[in-house]
Symmetry: C2
Subunit: 217 residues, 2 copies
DNA sequence: GTCTATAAATGGATAGAC
DNA sequence: GTCTATCCATTTATAGAC
């Protein structure tokens, strides 16, 4: 499967897998080569080093997350859509979660990734702001201008650290972690639901319970 | 000042400072020795290695944060008290923030710290739960039993990652970061304030603005 | 493109003199 | 308690043959 691909591509895929599973600081170039059954020399023929691999992986993440966050959302966003949308964002984050597990360290070591990642955070914030504004204009939410800003920060914070937080507490399966993440974000928004809209949150809760029970454990 | 202390103590203090400023993974035993103007050999006389230093620092953190989180709070907790209390918690976390900057990695490398840190998270959760329950019983908050649990998780998440999050975005002075952290946590609770209590949140906002303006920039 | 072999660099750790 | 000198282990990186 993976062997059908070119070596360069196999290196990227296997590195991402190892980084996500073992943690980026614990994976050496030799580990990657071993996992692929190629020599370290061969690996260095394709990538000048671990940094270059990480930068390549990052630029893929940057591309896809930027697309998702920049997607023009329907003008008539509703909360059901937001749930689905959030899940897609979490999926993307979890696919590249090793960055999120070691954010401070990686940003400290790679200055260009640091700059780009800050842009992603800003984009997350502005997307959250936009959606909250639209929901407010559509009278789904009842929340002040100032509070939107603060709420958006809390949303981005949960998005950014939920993977680390769940891992820290108890080992959840990926899908469970992502669904609970969506639920957690929804719980931030729920108290601001407009009159007559609070029912949706209970709907979320049921949906979430449902997803959990359907899981194959 | 620091030179008046015994070497063992100076090693701990300097290490904590370096870890917080440079990031734990970027500080070697030699760096610590250099900063102290002692030889690596001398450092190894006092501590068998970097791990032992980190474990010693952690156990100090564990002791103080556990005391704070276990403090018997007044039965008549009000929201003003909570603000102050939160600030103290943030102060403690910021004093040992290098753990929080590299949580996943450090927990992965030090198994005993991992276990103890999980206990601290549990304690944070249970303290948050307790306070929220008390506030609800005192009719300050209007929130369901289920929602308290979810809210407690969001509070602990902000407590745990606020230091990393603010560092990621923009470089704030410590005190500013801590105050904004308290405000951010309060904003999680605010939407659940009971009728007639919402004024407090605006009070918070004013207080927070006030603190910011008083800062020496 | 890929391998083997080996070098260079770093960080962690110890022995023995003072 | 402290220093110097040295060693060992790990990881990164390169040279040159196939």
């Amino acid at each position: 499967m993976v062997n059908a691909l070119k070596t360069r591509e196999r290196i990227i895929i296997t590195s991402l897998e190892l980084f996500n599973n073992e943690g980026e600081p614990n994976v050496t170039t030799v580990d990657i080569a071993n996992e692929l059954d190629i020599s370290p020399g061969n690996l260095y023929y394709h990538f000048k080093g671990k940094e270059i691999i990480i930068e390549e992986i990052f630029s893929r993440f940057e591309k896809s997350i930027t697309e998702i966050l920049s997607a023009q959302l329907d003008d008539k966003v509703d909360i059901e859509d937001s749930w689905f949308y959030l899940f897609v964002v979490f999926e993307e984050i979890f696919a590249y979660r090793f960055f999120y597990y070691n954010l401070t360290d990686i940003m400290q070591r790679y200055d260009n990734i640091n700059k780009k990642f800050k842009r992603i955070i800003k984009l997350k914030l502005s997307t959250a702001n936009t959606i909250l504004h639209k929901l407010t204009q559509a009278s789904m939410l009842s929340i002040s201008e100032d509070d939107i800003e603060v709420l958006a920060n809390n949303i981005v914070l949960v998005l950014t650290y939920w993977a680390s937080y769940t891992r820290l507490q108890k080992q959840l399966a990926d899908d469970e972690a992502m669904h609970s993440g969506v639920f957690q974000v929804m719980s931030l928004v729920a108290p601001h639901l407009a009159e007559g809209r609070q029912g949706f949150y209970e709907e979320c809760r049921r949906l979430y319970q449902h997803v959990l029970n359907d899981r194959v454990l």
